[in-house]
């Protein structure tokens, strides 16, 4: 084994091991990168390698951080976090959850289904896992736990419904993937619609089924009222303001008032107005929202910064070529290679966030996919149907890996906003059934590429 390869493998190994010491994830990423840069430098001096890392070359990390700073698309992240916080403070979320709960009161798991539905709605407005998970958690966890839901079911539902956001358009992940692979963003957005709906449907079917099989995990509310006209009116009244806010976000995108990035600020403003309308807005409340947003976006971006250092050193060590030569040397058939690549992406999803994976892995594997000469139907409209389909498989795989212990980004974000009683262990157990559902969804997409490609072909056919 080459010294480079030993270093690449031990870099991954030390990262995983050090994570479990409980030192912050961001600093383990950045620190392991830095330490291995030093080791590589010493190897060049003492071991006759030519890696070419030194204190000067590692300084590139600063321009990489600057690239995170001037990323106009990521501006949406703190805005959506603010919107989520304000929505929480406005009392509107509570109203919404309560009235949905009354409406679905007679159905076992009705509240969980509400969460999935709201997750799908929110997904369409955020597109950032951190933001959707946080938003959904602050909105729904308290009411689910109050009603006596099994903690595992509650957090599992929130984590999985929240991660749908990276898939359902407008998704910044798809934007960046399109950019990397020279695909049309429109094709990817439309291609993601059905996969997102399929996953949402799988969640709902599962929750309904589980509600029947194990009613104690999803108890009904204590005082169920019959569904009367009065209830419908109350539901409507509580839904309306929040609905208006969501309409403000989506509407400003669909009417062309704003880009998806700008729509995040429209949403933030709408949440402030909503809180004001409900009489919940005050100076301390506003300040508290700002502080919370500041904190949450701070720890999310620390991970971005740590990961950029880790990826830089990995690349300088030749991690890219290592993976590429490995892939091209595989003895499997086309679908075997695809499954293998998805497997690797799944594993990498434990340690790297989607930005790093999108930047590292996708450009590496895209030529491999194109060379497989699969016959995926593009209906004469899509420019590169194989790649559009494959990107969607990757997107679902990534979404799954964010849900998967021990290192799932969605789980960490969720932990950040959970009530003190919920441990990471509970979250780990809670997401397991949803991981199975994800794998089921993935299999469907593998077997029926039309689920991905038909819709964009129809929308964009001349």
């Amino acid at each position: 084994m080459e010294i480079n390869e030993i270093l690449i493998l031990s870099m991954f190994a030390s990262f995983i091991l050090l994570l479990f010491t409980g030192f912050p994830v961001a600093w383990v990423l950045g620190g392991v990168g830095t330490v291995f840069a030093g080791i590589a430098y010493l190897c060049d001096i003492h071991l006759d390698t030519i890696i070419g890392i030194d204190f000067n070359s590692i300084g590139i990390v600063v321009s990489r951080i600057y690239k995170i700073m001037d990323n106009w698309i990521l501006v949406a992240l703190p805005m959506f976090i603010f919107m989520g916080n304000m929505l929480d403070k406005s009392g509107a979320a509570e109203n919404l959850m309560k009235s949905f709960q009354e409406l679905f009161g007679r159905v076992k798991g009705g509240l969980a289904i509400t969460v999935v539905l709201i997750g799908i709605i929110l997904a369409a407005s955020t597109g950032i896992i951190g933001a959707s998970v946080v938003l959904l958690a602050v909105m729904s966890l308290p009411s689910m736990l109050d009603q006596g839901y099994d903690k595992k079911v509650a957090v599992g539902t929130v984590a999985s419904a929240g991660t749908l956001g990276i898939l359902i358009p407008p998704s910044i992940m798809l934007v960046i993937m399109a950019d990397q692979l020279a695909l049309s963003v429109g094709d990817l957005f439309m291609g993601a619609v059905f996969p997102g709906l399929v996953l949402g449907a799988l969640y709902i079917v599962y929750i309904l089924g589980w509600g029947v099989l194990k009613p104690t995990s999803m108890p009904l509310a204590e005082n169920i009222q019959p569904v009367t006209l009065g209830l419908w009116i109350r539901v409507l009244k509580s839904v309306l303001p929040t609905l208006l806010m969501i309409v403000a976000v989506l509407g400003s995108i669909f009417t062309g008032m704003a880009t998806p990035t700008e729509a995040s600020a429209v949403g933030a403003l709408a949440a402030v107005l909503l809180a004001w309308y409900n009489g919940k807005l005050s100076f301390p409340v506003f300040k508290d929202c700002l502080h919370n947003t500041f904190n949450v976006s701070g720890y999310i971006f620390a991970i971005f910064i740590g990961a950029t250092m880790f990826a830089l050193v990995l690349r300088e060590l030749g991690g890219d070529e290592y993976i590429e030569s490995f892939l091209t040397g595989l003895p499997f058939g086309p679908y075997g290679i695809i499954l293998f690549i998805l497997g690797i992406i799944f594993l990498l999803g434990f340690v790297l966030d989607w930005i790093e994976i999108t930047l590292i892995i996708l450009p590496l594997v895209a030529p491999v996919i194109n060379a497989l000469e699969l016959s995926i139907n593009g209906y004469g409209v899509l420019d590169n149907p194989e790649l559009v389909w494959f990107v969607m498989l990757v997107a679902v795989t990534l979404q799954t890996s964010f849900l998967t212990p021990p290192v799932g980004f969605a789980l960490f974000y969720l932990k950040g906003v959970c009530p003190p009683g919920v441990t990471l262990g509970t979250i780990y157990k809670g997401v397991i059934p949803f991981i199975v559902l994800q794998l089921l969804g993935l299999t469907l997409l593998l077997l029926f590429p039309a689920l991905v490609n038909w819709f964009p072909a129809m929308v964009y056919s001349p």
Binding site: G52, N56, S57, G59, I60, S63, R64, Y66, K67, W72, I73, P170, V175, I176, A178, D179, Q180, L181, A182, L183, S184, V185, G186, D187, F189, I253, F254, T255, G256, M257, A258, T259, P260, T261, E262, L312, R315, E316, D320, L359, I360, P363, A366, D383, Y460, P462
Partner: protein, 329 residues
């Protein structure tokens, strides 16, 4: 005998993009063959090592030993840099080559970096033909139609549009399609037909305008850290220079070859209407560009380089206005 050299080269455009990125891939394939393994190049896709806009600093400080980009990306540091990649109503490819290689172009190009204190050696390493003038949702029949239009437009051409009442913005590549589709912008320019089709603009904006007055030809540069360059043997340097020069002709050929196919598809299969700017519109663009030029020439280096280019072009006209059959025939 100098040691074999490995150029670690971050690039500003993905190597999968025809004409924008394919030429440097060709260079990296040719270098070891031409030099018998004495010069190698490892290409890093955009952002993998360093972001496109940071390439100059990284090469100059020796964090990487070379990089591939367009000089226009350094216009925020040296306004004159824009001229060395493209300017509105600038020269087309053969004229550009004439100025760079036999006029003062390359000398001024290197001098600009030297005077600004950058520790780099520059080679022109690709050159591509005109861009389209942009994709519009509605036809533009007069200057009035431009007023209040929201358009994505890059660089000095964007300044020209702004002078004509267009509200320009600089959306990143990945945001353009979504913004155009939803109507957050009404029009966009990006690149040549063969490249624009990859971003799918034809799906939502059906009016494609020509000629690309803002970008008649675009030069791409290979930057090499000067310490690395000085340590290379004469033979190694000749391999790099000659391969870059070969790449210039290769990329002109490629970019000239790939456009008609995309344009035919646009019209025949995608319902795109192709327009040619009428005389009065071209005159208006030209007039606005002259105003922009007055602002730009406040920078001494910009003025010096521009005047040299202009002097060359005045002389070149003596030849070009008589030598060629006009293009439209």
């Amino acid at each position: 005998q100098a040691k074999p050299v490995l150029l670690k080269t971050p690039i500003a455009f993905g190597s999968h993009l025809p004409a924008l990125g394919t030429p440097i891939k060709w260079v990296s394939d040719q270098l070891p063959l031409v030099s018998g393994g004495d010069v190698k190049m490892k290409v890093y896709e955009p952002g993998k090592l360093v972001a496109p806009l940071e390439i100059l600093d990284a090469v100059s400080s020796g964090k990487v030993n070379s990089g591939y980009s367009i000089a226009g990306y350094w216009a925020g540091k040296m306004p004159a840099a824009a001229i060395f990649s493209t300017i509105p109503f600038g020269p087309e490819a053969p004229e550009f080559m004439a100025w760079l290689y036999y006029g003062n172009g390359m000398k001024l190009y290197q001098k600009m970096y030297d005077d600004a204190g950058y520790n780099v050696h520059v080679e022109a390493c690709a050159l591509i033909s005109p861009e389209t003038s942009g994709w519009f949702k509605k036809p533009v029949n007069s200057i009035d139609d431009l007023k209040g239009l929201n358009m994505r437009f890059y660089g000095l051409g964007g300044e020209v549009m702004q002078k004509l009442g267009v509200s320009t913005s600089l959306l990143p590549g990945g945001e353009i399609f979504g913004a155009l589709e939803k109507g957050a912008i009404d029009a966009t320019e990006f690149s040549q037909p063969a490249i624009d089709q990859k971003l799918g603009f034809y799906k939502v904006a059906k009016h494609n305008y020509f000629p690309g007055w803002h970008q008649q030809a675009t030069v791409f540069e290979l930057l090499i850290n000067k310490d690395t360059w000085n340590k290379m043997s004469d033979s190694q340097r000749a391999v790099v220079s000659t391969t870059c020069k070969a790449s210039v002709s290769n990329s002109v050929a490629e970019s000239e070859f790939i456009q008609f196919d995309a344009m035919k598809k646009n019209v025949e299969e995608r319902g795109v209407v192709m327009h040619t700017w009428p005389q009065d519109m071209m005159a208006a663009f030209k007039g606005a560009w002259e105003q922009v030029l007055v602002d730009q020439k406040k920078d001494a280096t910009f003025a010096a380089v521009y005047d040299d280019l202009q002097q060359f072009r005045d002389n070149y006209k003596v030849w070009s206005t008589r030598a060629f059959i006009t293009r439209s025939e």
